[in-house]
C-alpha cells in the first residue's frame, strides 16, 4: 500500500476499496509495477463501462491482494473506435477469459491474447452487443415476432382524459338542464336572483380530481 501511494495518487472509495487512474500509455508500466511491487498482485475482474456521451470506454482492472482483503480499481479510458490494449495474460493467466469476453462484447482488441475467438456468441457478425449503440429492442423487433392477443391494451392517460371529458359533457348537459329549470323557476319568482351555477360545477370538478392524484402519489 505504501509503495503504491508513493508512486500513484490513490483515492479511497469505500472501506477496503481503492482507486488509481492512469492513462492508456502509462497502463502497462503501472500494471507491471503494481502487480510486482505492491500487495495487489492478483486480478479478479476486468470491468468495462461504455460512456458513449464522452466517447470512451472506462476499463477497470480490479486487482486484489493475496490475503483477499482489499481491492484496487485500476482505471483507464480507452477510445471507442475499436482500439486495442496490451493483454495482461503474461502477468495474470486468468485474464484470458475476461479479455475474450470484453473482445466479444465491446470489440476491444487485446494484443498478445491468442484466444480471442468466439466466447458465448456464436457466429455473431452484428455490432458487439454491449456497446451502447446496440439497441436490444430494435434487434428483438427485427428477429422475433411478438405474441398476438394483446392489442386491446389501453393507454390509461388517454382513457382518463377521454372519460373526464365525457363526464364533463355529461355534467354540462345536466347543468344546462338545471339552468333551464332554474330559469323557469326564476321567471316565476323574479324577486331573488341566484348565483351563477358555473362556479359550483368548477369547484366540484377540482374536488373530484384531488383524490385521484393523491392516491397515485402514494404509490411512488
Amino acid at each position: 500500500m505504501k509503495n503504491l501511494q508513493k508512486t500513484y495518487e490513490v483515492t479511497q472509495k469505500v472501506e477496503r476499496l481503492f482507486e488509481v487512474t492512469v492513462t492508456q500509455t502509462d497502463f502497462w508500466e503501472a500494471v507491471l509495477y503494481i502487480s510486482t511491487q505492491t500487495e495487489f498482485n492478483t486480478l479478479s475482474q476486468i470491468a468495462c463501462a461504455d460512456w458513449i456521451e464522452e466517447e470512451h470506454f472506462l476499463l477497470t482492472y480490479i486487482l486484489t491482494t493475496d490475503a483477499r482483503d482489499k481491492n484496487l480499481m485500476l482505471k483507464l479510458t480507452l477510445g471507442r473506435e475499436y482500439e486495442s490494449m496490451p493483454s495482461v495474460m503474461t502477468l495474470f493467466p486468468q485474464a484470458e477469459v475476461m479479455e475474450r469476453d470484453l473482445h466479444e462484447m465491446y470489440g476491444i482488441g487485446f494484443e498478445g491474447n491468442e484466444t480471442l475467438y468466439d466466447f458465448v456468441l456464436e457466429q455473431w457478425h452484428d455490432l458487439p452487443p454491449l456497446r451502447r449503440e446496440f439497441d436490444t429492442l430494435a434487434f428483438v423487433h427485427e428477429h422475433f415476432a411478438f405474441k398476438g392477443g394483446r392489442e386491446d391494451n389501453k393507454d390509461v392517460k388517454v382513457e382518463q382524459k377521454r372519460r373526464r371529458e365525457e363526464a364533463k359533457k355529461q355534467k354540462a348537459l345536466e347543468a344546462a338542464k338545471q339552468e333551464a329549470k332554474k330559469q323557469e323557476t326564476e321567471k316565476q319568482e323574479t324577486e331573488k336572483p341566484k348565483e351563477p351555477n358555473t362556479h359550483a360545477t368548477d369547484a366540484e370538478e377540482t374536488q373530484d380530481k384531488k383524490p385521484d392524484t393523491k392516491e397515485a402519489e402514494d404509490g411512488q
Binding site: K147, N153, K154, V156, E159, R163, A216, G219
Partner: protein, 133 residues
C-alpha cells in the same frame, strides 16, 4: 489414498442407508393430496375490483411488459377514473411482486393458486381473480 489396508468402515457404513426403509415416506401424492402453500406465497394475481382505481402504476413498473390495461365490463369502483383494470400475461410475468408493491390502494395481490395448464400459449392472458366478493 492407497488401498494397502482395506477401508472396512467405508465399505460397511454406506449400508446404513437401508435403515431408511423403515421411515415413513414423505412424498405428497399429488392429485389426491395437495400441498398447502405458505401464506404470502407468490402465486397468481388477485385484484380487489372495488378498490382498483385504474391508475396503471402496476403497468408502469412491470419491467416485463406483462400488464395490459383493459376496459372494464362492469364498473365496480366509481373512483376508477380510466375505467381500466390490469390484465396479466403469464407468459411474461416473473412473479416479482413489484406491481403489488406500487399499487396505491393495495388492491392487487399475489394469491395462492399457482397451477394452470393450457394447450394454447395465447390463453395465458388472465384477469386477476376478483377477491372483493
Amino acid at each position: 489414498m492407497k488401498f494397502t489396508t482395506i477401508d472396512i468402515k467405508g465399505i460397511i457404513s454406506p449400508f446404513s442407508a437401508i435403515g431408511k426403509v423403515l421411515e415413513h415416506p414423505k412424498t405428497v401424492c399429488y392429485p389426491a393430496q395437495t400441498k398447502t402453500v405458505a401464506p404470502g406465497y407468490r402465486g397468481f394475481h388477485t385484484n380487489i375490483l372495488t378498490d382498483c382505481i385504474g391508475c396503471a402504476n402496476c403497468q408502469d413498473v412491470c419491467m416485463n411488459d406483462a400488464i395490459d390495461m383493459i376496459t372494464i365490463q362492469e364498473e365496480k369502483n366509481p373512483k376508477n377514473k380510466s375505467g381500466c383494470i390490469p390484465r396479466i400475461d403469464y407468459g411474461r410475468c416473473c412473479w416479482c411482486n413489484l406491481c403489488v408493491d406500487v399499487c396505491p390502494p393495495n388492491s392487487l395481490a399475489l394469491g395462492e393458486v399457482c397451477i394452470q395448464a393450457e394447450m394454447d400459449s395465447n390463453k395465458f392472458l388472465f384477469f386477476p381473480k376478483d377477491s372483493s366478493c
